[in-house]
Symmetry: C2
Subunit: 407 residues, 2 copies
């Protein structure tokens, strides 16, 4: 069985970590930023070094395709993203790109026989850090988002994604987009971004799907008054009410299924001045579970929440929801078979995070491979996966590509 | 006894409400903004209309002085500010300026005999909305702040107060500053900004001082991880911990003296993204009471707070503190005498809010007069005091000036 090259993997991890290095062991590399363009140029350079040219589509998604031996066969694509959240780590997304490059390099350098063309790919703006939403370009390519709306998406500074796309020089031809005629399968290797593989001492996560989720905004309405002149009895403090609502929701949601994950990560307080009683506060509630029944229970908790906390009205609104996505069973089976062939320990699991693969799964057969995340940390500078662990995952990716190639 | 003119007062309130009208019955009029310069020009124009010229000092504080009949006597000054918070109301600050103008106009038009020069004054940037700190210019003039540091204060957009001052065209001569040789007393009429006068059906607040206060920052430290991939048991959520700390502090502080007012008005959550578990959160705690013993009890509550909430470390830091300021007893007595002379109902009270008068009080004899705030609202668009209530307060201001003039 073929394996990839550990030194080459380490070199790629270290090189890409310099593009957007934020000085604390992690990166800030927003999509289409100068730092992201450095990463893209490195991708083009390294693919060219093994004789593979890169083309882009109209969303600046990048495709580096190593031809196969049999003409007219569809491509096998390995893809992830090279953008990050603010103060993110050196593995989320970029490890999938590094893995795709490494597999192409290994096949090219070792001259491994393969019938189908094999593509290493970068999806533009998976994180949506600067230009929302997340998974923007896979969403456009797979028909989840209208392109015109996406081009109008604005950064906090008011620049549109369309402007950034044009300035980047990476916008290419729509005809180059991933599509169900020219592509037969997509594989995405990613860090787990959670603590489960490490805690259970598993080397490979065989991903069976992406968790369904709901996202709500919870809002409290008080009255803005002066901090020094309003006796306590007269106050309606929207931040106190938000703290009460947040504590209430945590307490009630903790009673549901233990596999439920939920997060209150964003809070907006108005006017947010230390000398003024807050008049309205708005916080997010993100909840994920593979079973839609549990998601329904979450929604029931929200709907049954008291209408008032601390004399402030409380309202809620669904921001968005997605159903659980199940990956292609045959591909999941080939990942499992490849991991077993190497003798790696593995675990079938759902992804709690969203990935471009979940949109692609509705278009062509798709699946994912997870490698462990140290202490489960992700979207932060502490993100870490050892080269050894990356190498195992990339070996499974290579082997799975070669298995798919037999079809 | 002399009284002021209700129609003239109403006209001034309505006119100044147009400078920075934010469209919802209130104003946004940051110091030295175009809107604030419109208000300053209106002040100059109206004072000129009764034969009074306006000069400015080096902090752009404005002084319109009606001469007295006896040469060489010090001035009696009535002062407040014309800047507002974002989406503030039509009374905070500007009513004190309107009152000062109205008293000067009444004395000039009615030719009321007076020995001392009488000055209507505007303090620059009391709110500190764009350029912190609050009470910036009275702080410089009264020796509380170094001028160079204040000039370097930056707006969120990075413009310095010094640049804004120069561009305004209102920076004048340092020799024009309020000082203890040329000024014998300062009076500031202001809205109460609280609900007490209205609730107790009192027409005039005879202000005896400004409450002492402490301001703390409370910080919680968790771990940033991915919202979808981190099982609940592995989480250290700094926003959940902040909600717990905030609830704890409210519960404990509610047990202290019922006159204590405290506010948690500002919260900063990092990274504040709905898909990321917050890793640190920082909120403000502002507490005010006339009795330093109660302030000490507040600090004890903070210091005795648990060191950890929800597996997150909690720390605190004093941001600043100020002692209770007591106003000049003789002036307070003259305000009381004047209110009584008109037969107005009144209440002796502390100001919970900070005012320029509290800095001036350390330099020359100073006091304040409060008029009721409808429903206690202030620093918001609902701020309201009827013309009738304003008129009563301004009559007391006029009468107090004439009483001081006898000295």
């Amino acid at each position: 069985m073929y394996t990839c090259n550990k030194d080459r993997i380490q070199n790629k991890i270290e090189t890409f970590a310099t593009f957007g290095d934020a000085g604390n062991g992690g990166i800030t590399r927003f999509s289409l930023s100068d730092e992201a363009l450095q990463a893209r140029a490195e991708f083009v350079k390294r693919m060219k070094a093994v004789g593979v040219e890169t083309v882009t589509d109209d969303m600046a998604n990048m495709y580096a395709t190593l031809p196969g031996t049999e003409p007219g066969l569809p491509r096998i694509v390995m893809a992830s993203h090279c953008d990050s959240v603010r103060n993110g780590g050196n593995y989320d997304g970029i490890l999938g790109v590094i893995s795709a490059m490494e597999v192409v390099e290994t096949i090219a350098i070792e001259k491994i026989p393969h019938r189908h063309p094999i593509t290493a790919m970068i999806w533009t703006n998976e994180e949506g850090s600067l230009y929302p939403p997340a998974m923007m370009s896979s969403g456009v390519v797979c028909g989840k988002f209208l392109k015109d709306k996406i081009l109008a998406s604005k950064s906090p500074e008011g620049k549109t994604f369309g402007e950034a796309l044009e300035q980047s020089g990476y916008a290419g031809d729509e005809a180059n987009r991933l599509n169900p005629n020219d592509y037969m399968a997509m594989l995405e290797l990613h860090i787990e971004q959670g603590p489960v593989l490490e805690a259970e001492k598993k080397e490979i996560g065989v991903v069976v799907g992406v968790l369904g989720m709901v996202n709500y905004r919870i809002r409290t309405y008080g009255q803005s008054d002066h901090a020094g002149t309003t006796p306590m009895a007269y106050r309606r403090d929207a931040l106190l009410a938000a703290a009460s609502a947040l504590k209430y929701l945590h307490t009630e949601l903790d009673k549901l299924d233990s596999n439920l994950v939920y997060t209150t990560g964003n809070i907006i307080c108005h006017p947010n001045i230390h000398t003024v009683i807050p008049d309205h506060v708005d916080f997010s509630l993100d909840a994920r579970h593979q079973n839609p029944e549990v998601i329904k229970q979450v929604v029931e908790v929200i709907k049954n929440m008291p209408k008032e906390f601390d004399k402030c009205e409380v309202k809620y609104q669904e921001a968005w929801a997605r159903k659980t996505v199940n990956f292609n069973e045959e591909l999941v089976g080939l990942v499992q078979k490849s991991a077993d062939a190497f003798g790696y320990t593995s675990k079938k699991m759902y992804s709690g995070a969203g990935h471009d693969a979940q949109y692609v799964a509705d278009m062509i057969p798709t699946t994912m491979i997870f490698v462990p995340s140290k202490d489960g940390h992700s979207h932060c500078e502490l993100e870490f996966t050892s080269v050894e662990e990356c190498w195992r995952g990339i070996n499974v990716l290579l082997q799975t590509v070669l298995e798919v190639d037999k079809k």
